[in-house]
C-alpha cells in the first residue's frame, strides 16, 4: 500500500546549527503534505505545509522542500534551538470529504539539540 517514511529515526544537532529532516513518500498522486512536531506527552503540532504545485515554502525559521520527481520532502530548521527538540513527522494529507483530510504519517525523526 501507499506509505510515508522518514530516512533517519534520530538526528542530533548542535544548538545554532541548521537541521535537515528528510521524508520519502510513495503515492505519486499525493498533492498536499504537512510537517508536524510532537513533543513528549503532547499531540502533534502543525509546523508547515506544502502543496504539490510548489517546490519550496518558507515559514519562520523553517523551510520545506518538495521534489516530486523522486517523491521526497525535507524540513529545514534554521539556527536550531533547544525548544526544537521533538519528534518530527511528515504526513501525506489525502482527501476524505470536502476539505477533510486523512493524514498518513511516517514513523518520525527524533531531533535532539545538543548544547
Amino acid at each position: 500500500g501507499e506509505s510515508v517514511g522518514l530516512h533517519l529515526p534520530t538526528l542530533s544537532v548542535q544548538e545554532g546549527d541548521n537541521s535537515i529532516i528528510n521524508c520519502a513518500y510513495s503515492n505519486s498522486a499525493s498533492d498536499y503534505f504537512i510537517w508536524y512536531k510532537q513533543e513528549s506527552g503532547k499531540g502533534p503540532q502543525f509546523i508547515i505545509d506544502i502543496r504539490s504545485n510548489m517546490d519550496k515554502r518558507q515559514g519562520q525559521r523553517v523551510t520545506v522542500l518538495l521534489n516530486k520527481t523522486v517523491k521526497h520532502l525535507s524540513l529545514q530548521i534554521a539556527a536550531t534551538q533547544p525548544g526544537d527538540s521533538a519528534v518530527y513527522f511528515c504526513a501525506d494529507a489525502g482527501p476524505l470529504s470536502g476539505s477533510a483530510r486523512q493524514l498518513t504519517f511516517g514513523s518520525g525523526t527524533q531531533l535532539t539539540v545538543l548544547p
Partner: protein, 112 residues
C-alpha cells in the same frame, strides 16, 4: 480558547471492559477525527466526522464506535477492550475550507 480537549489523559483497562474517550473542541470546527499512535509509529485514522450526525470509518475502525451528536463533541467508544488497543489516542479537528488539523494532547490507554 482551549482548542481540542481530551479526557482522560491516562487509563488502564482490563480485557473485555468498555470505556469512552471524550473529545470536545471549542473552535466550531466541522471536521473531527480520531487517530491512534502506537509506540514509535505515526498516527492512523480510526474514525472521522464531517459534521454533527455524520461519521465514517478511517483506516483502522475495528473495535471502535463513534457518535457526533453535537458540533463540539466526538466521543470514541471501546466496547470490548483488547490488548491490541493499547495505544495513545488523539482527537483532532479542522474547519471547513481549511485543511490544517488541530490535535488534542492525547489519551494513553493500556489494556491488560
Amino acid at each position: 480558547n482551549a482548542g481540542v480537549t481530551q479526557t482522560p489523559k491516562f487509563r488502564i483497562l482490563k480485557i473485555g471492559q468498555s470505556m469512552t474517550l471524550q473529545c470536545t473542541q471549542d473552535m466550531n470546527h466541522n471536521y473531527m477525527y480520531w487517530y491512534r499512535q502506537d509506540p514509535g509509529m505515526g498516527l492512523k485514522l480510526i474514525y472521522y466526522s464531517v459534521g454533527a450526525g455524520i461519521t465514517d470509518k478511517g483506516e483502522v475502525p475495528n473495535g471502535y464506535n463513534v457518535s457526533r451528536s453535537t458540533t463540539e463533541d466526538f466521543p470514541l467508544r471501546l466496547e470490548l477492550a483488547a490488548p491490541s488497543q493499547t495505544s495513545v489516542y488523539f482527537c483532532a479537528s479542522s474547519s471547513e475550507g481549511k485543511e490544517k488539523l488541530f490535535f488534542g494532547s492525547g489519551t494513553q490507554l493500556s489494556v491488560l
